[in-house]
Symmetry: C2
Subunit: 310 residues, 2 copies
């Protein structure tokens, strides 16, 4: 156990993997999690990034899918299919238990922060998983194509349309009035090291940074903030990060990511394949660390976490 | 196929069994169903009586339990149990698909009547299952005991407390402004025969009768209304009907049931074991038919349905 207090600005899958490297290895670990993907579907309140983190850290996540639970069944979705219901967002039977609990507790007046703590405790996790805000935030995406200029929900873009359509706008609905929780404020003040996970900068990290004073709070801690580039060799391991960066006129590289975070992040970790980019990143006034970052490869997660703590 | 148009005033299990006898046997069959048991749980809109009727008529109901689906699994409830969530109302995984669909469609603005038609069509049923009203009605029960005078929901009484506590009051919340649907009005006008199912008079049939002009509409059709007593030999086959009738000062017998319906029902069907009660029922100004009424016994359902159509 390393005597360190680490806070991780988190999206879903990529952040969950990184958190797994820190879990039970550092004294105090906090995930500050995106809630822009949250939605109400079939009346149920669903928090995809929070659940991916919980299931991953509980070693309960499906290794095949990377989301949802191992040993999952799909009886409810089968029935929904019989009725011609909306079944584009797959809800496993076990997973539904999580959404039933969250929805009931929210209706009872509990905060998402409190409920996430209850879920986390039920899985015997030893970290604080904190939604960045208890206020609702909904990431909305304006897409081009047959429905030019149509604004749709993030999950509609990401899941139903499999992020295969051009995007011309991203908006975080509700972020104007949303504030970060006091737990998040305390975590950012008390952390020795603040890590920006290799999540999608535009749709996973930005909706965290856009809440209340988060960006300013990180700027104050800039020397202790260390980002991990999700772009390796000009591509994202998974998901639409590279495509979105290009669509929004950003350089699709570790330099583009570093530039996006340069006001809040003193150090950038980039993959060995991108080592030639280090001077460009240092030219942005950031330190640059070159190391292996593909966490699915043997031994890389452990060494990456050691690097981030060093 | 008998050229008859039959409407059945229905609760859940008992009504579903009777409807199964009529289904695909008469030209036009309509169930007018209690919605007082409906509830929102974990954010999901649940209509227990409607679902029991659909599942029973689809031959999909669990024969062991008499409610819910055959081949059901309980993964969601298992997960809810892990979280210490409210698991007193068992929601099977398949069954959840029905509630997800209903909730989503209600949130989209569809009426309960339309949604019930969609569910019914998906199960290839050949009858009209009509909620008595599209307006919400909630049967509330005032119980005695440790929580003297506490008013609780019907499902809390019926399922969570297994109808084992004394009841001092029954109230149909919302019934003052609820109106019967135009489909229900048409069904009651067009039916050759209107059957009052052997459901609980106080908590299954009364919340139907209490809606808008239903009682008056039945009174007009009194000569064509035929009730089946759920009380046989002074006892109910299932559930708290006998206990509730006693608690509310009614005679706990087929006579008590007949008396309860005497203004709206011209004919009462009672079980052979109660044949001695026929004169008392006739003294109420009703015809009385004595026959076998225990539908779970071989051949009884078929003969009972023939009697009701005669």
């Amino acid at each position: 156990m390393i005597d360190s207090n680490v806070a991780v600005i988190s999206g879903g899958v990529g952040a969950a993997r990184l958190l797994r490297g820190f879990h039970r290895q550092v004294e105090q670990l906090t995930a500050i999690v995106n809630v822009g993907d949250d939605m109400v579907l079939h009346g149920l309140c669903i928090s995809p990034d929070i659940d991916t983190i919980i299931y991953t850290l509980a070693d309960a996540v499906s290794t095949e899918r990377g989301w949802g639970l191992e040993g999952e069944t799909w009886q409810a979705m089968g029935m929904l299919g019989r009725y011609g219901g909306q079944d584009w967002f797959s809800l496993g039977d076990k997973d539904l238990g999580t959404h039933l609990f969250r929805t009931q507790r929210l209706h009872e007046g509990a905060t998402l922060t409190a409920i996430t703590g209850e879920l986390s405790a039920a899985w015997d996790l030893d970290l604080d998983i904190l939604p960045v805000s208890d206020d609702p935030i909904h990431t909305m995406v304006t897409i081009q194509g047959p429905d030019t200029g149509t604004e749709i929900s993030f999950q509609d873009y990401f899941v139903a349309r499999q992020h295969s359509v051009p995007v011309t706008g991203i908006r975080f609905d509700g972020v104007g009035t949303a504030i970060e929780t006091s737990n998040v404020v305390a975590a950012l003040e008390q952390a020795d090291r603040i890590v920006i996970a290799p999540s999608n900068p535009l749709v996973s990290i930005d909706p965290v940074l856009a809440v209340g004073g988060i960006r300013q709070r990180l700027a104050i801690r800039r020397d202790d903030v260390i980002g991990v580039s999700p772009i390796i060799g000009g591509e994202a391991l998974k998901g639409p990060a590279a495509r979105l960066m290009t669509e929004f006129g950003m350089e699709c590289s570790a330099v583009g990511v570093a530039s996006h975070y340069s006001d809040i992040c003193g150090t950038m970790v980039i993959d060995t394949v991108d080592s030639a980019l280090a001077p460009e990143i240092e030219a942005l006034g950031m330190r640059c660390i070159v190391t292996d970052t593909i966490m699915s490869e043997p031994g890389v997660l452990e060494s990456l976490c050691q690097t981030l703590l060093a």
